[in-house]
Amino acid sequence: MDLSREAVVEGLRAIAGADNVVTERHVLEESSIDRFRMFEGLHGLYTQPLPAAVVMARSTEMIADVLRFANEHGVNVVPRTGQTATEGGLETAVPDSIVLDGSGLDRILAIDEYDMQATCQCGVPLQALEDRVRELGLTTGHSPQSKPLAHLGGLTATRSIGQFSTLYGGIEDMVVGLEAVFPDGTVCRIKNVPRRAVGPDIRHIVIGNEGALCFITEVTVKLFPYLPRNNVFLGYTVDTMEHGFEVLREVMVSGYRPSVARLYDPADGAYHFAHFLPEGLSILIFLAEGPAGVAAATAAGIDDIVAARPECEKVDGRYIETWFADLNWGPDKIAAEREQILQTGNINRTTEVAAGWSAINGIYENAVRRILAEIPDMTMVGGHSSHSYVNGTNMYFNYFYNVVDCGPEGEVTKYHTPINRIICEETLRGGGAIVHHHGLGKARTPWTRDEYGTSYHMLETMKRAFDPNGIMNKGTIIPA
């Protein structure tokens, strides 16, 4: 970088106006991390380099101007919208970075009920879009736990997935077109079409780029009919995870598409369902939805599959329906979590991976066994599968530990990173993917090369081509 911190701020004020350039220290501190270093932040400790400023973007043109300025002077830029990232993707790894915030670009630009798609600026909260389209009897079909907080730009940038993915797919199946700005200020628009065969699908250069290639300014997503009156909630206890995975596989391979297909191990199950789940059992959860005939047939088909498994027992679907209604995370739960962590020193972390049906149970068992053997102070280790495909599923490891005998800054190095290492090692050993839907961020980049293998060449080449000066979110996806 050829500019001083003061010169960066001065340049940004000239571009964006002083009102849109925030330099208050507490804002810079909070903008230097995301939920990956939440424990440090809760204790008022900030170990990452502070950015020079947060720029509240007001237009695509302003974003282009800021990126052009940063590119010219070699200033690192961290794009963000809803700030719900969990893997360090929003950390400012380089001193005097620019945090480019798109949350002010919050207009829903169009809702097309005939072509069944909605166009939004990057800072539209998913909840706001969902609320709006539900008034029209429609849904985005996208419902991550972060729905009340996350914005369309960030969800697209991290290859988000929602709780109803088995029916509606991940964000990559929903985004039909978009607008993105590249480091040299070039604004690219990908038009909204159902499908095309005009070379590689360039949407996928943008979707999941985690701010390491470009800034997403606008997204168009598909819409679907919203038919909750037809929902059928199903739940079954199952004796082992291995048998549970077999049931999930059979449901998927048989061609059923419930919107929710989940399997919780005994530990994670006890955390959520202790009010009805017998100790030591796992639990399968399904939600059949869609037109009445489809929902009913899906539920009946799943019921038939499970009925043939003596190791499964049906539970009242109202348990599942009640639980599901309280699953999402809004500001209230974030505030409660903060108090709980500060008072108890106990923190919940997650690591999500994916693998084929033949490998997933081995990955799950090996990782849990190693975490229990190698990591101290664990208070819970478990997990669930929550997104299934015809060829495999994900595993969402869910774990808690007490942070003891180290300062807040030691939490990541003593606990979280070693656990991530175990899970990534076991996943790679099983031939799986080390991240399913949170993004690589900076937390899991030590394993990026192993994850990509020979295809790392393509990733590196893409980074060099679109971001030759390396100003986009340094240390994210590509190891620093």
């Binding site: 106006g17 009102d19 959520h272 329906e321 639980w323 208070t379 808690f400």
Partner: protein, 277 residues
């Protein structure tokens, strides 16, 4: 010091949807909120009482004194996972009174069972409990227990310290603010909005150590309590439910610059508030 903490496992009322509350708002004979399918949690005030006991135990241990911790709950099988957690945290004895009947809105019967169980457990020099539990709770149980046992009771307790003189330094919320009192044992403290409200979490290793320990389960008959007779001293009924109006008004502050928006807020609200004061 022998410390007995009474705790109750309740439905997680926060997890109930508005429609589920509305469905319970029937006539006198029908009014009842369906909570069968709702996850269970420790009553938050009891949770604070449990952590208060553990902190007292830590204080005593730091100067070489011992605390014997016992936990008591009146409830069904759903209470067991919570009692197992308490054992892992250092509660040497966990007792569950299985009433075999619905005790909702029957505080006198609940208090009679708690008092009888406390006597069964040797009284306890300090009895801690939450000063109320969940929506609809009248908050009378601590005082009824105190009356049954003939002990002094202080409610709305926020924190407790155990100085070396054997007495207790207790913080509590009075109508006019926070107060501190020095109290002799034996006594009953009903914990309200505590300074530390969350219960610490045992490690899996802690759980392993006590995995073979079990809850002592007692019936009302074991304690010599006739529920119907006890309940006659105080029973309430759910007459109906009215939703609390949580609607708020909002006004969008607009302006081209921060200065313009700040000016709009000042003109619309701050100036008026200043004039009124």
């Amino acid at each position: 010091m022998r410390i007995l903490v009474c705790c109750k496992v309740t439905p997680d009322f926060e997890a109930l949807r508005e429609s589920e509350w509305a469905a319970g708002a029937g006539s006198e004979s029908e009014a009842r909120v369906e909570t069968r399918f709702t996850p269970r949690v420790l009553n938050c005030f009891d949770e604070a009482a449990l952590e208060t006991a553990l902190r007292l135990s830590d204080q005593l241990a730091a100067r070489g004194e011992e605390a014997a911790l016992a936990a008591l709950s009146v409830g069904g099988q759903e209470t067991e996972p919570f009692l197992a957690t308490l054992r892992a945290l250092g509660f040497e004895r966990t007792v569950r009174v299985s009433p075999g009947a619905d005790l909702d809105f029957r505080p006198a019967a609940t208090a009679a069972l708690i008092a009888a169980a406390a006597r069964y457990l040797g009284g306890g020099e300090l009895i801690l409990l939450g000063d109320r539990a969940g929506p609809g709770d009248g908050g009378t149980v601590p005082f009824r227990v105190a009356e049954e046992l003939g002990r002094p009771c202080l409610s709305r307790v926020t924190d407790v310290e155990a100085p070396a003189d054997g007495r207790l330094r207790v913080g509590w919320t009075a109508d006019d603010g926070l107060r501190r009192a020095t109290i002799s044992r034996p006594c009953i403290l009903a914990v309200g909005n505590a300074v530390v409200a969350h219960l610490r979490v045992p490690t899996l290793g802690d759980r392993l150590v006590v995995r073979h320990h079990v809850t002592e389960v007692l019936s009302p008959a074991d304690l010599g309590v006739d529920l119907e007779t006890a309940a006659a001293a105080g029973t309430c009924s759910l007459m109906g439910l009215d939703p609390v109006d949580r609607s708020r008004q909002a006004e969008l502050i607009v302006g081209d610059t921060s200065r313009d928006r700040a000016r709009a807020v000042y003109d619309a609200y701050v100036r008026k508030a200043l004039e009124e004061t």
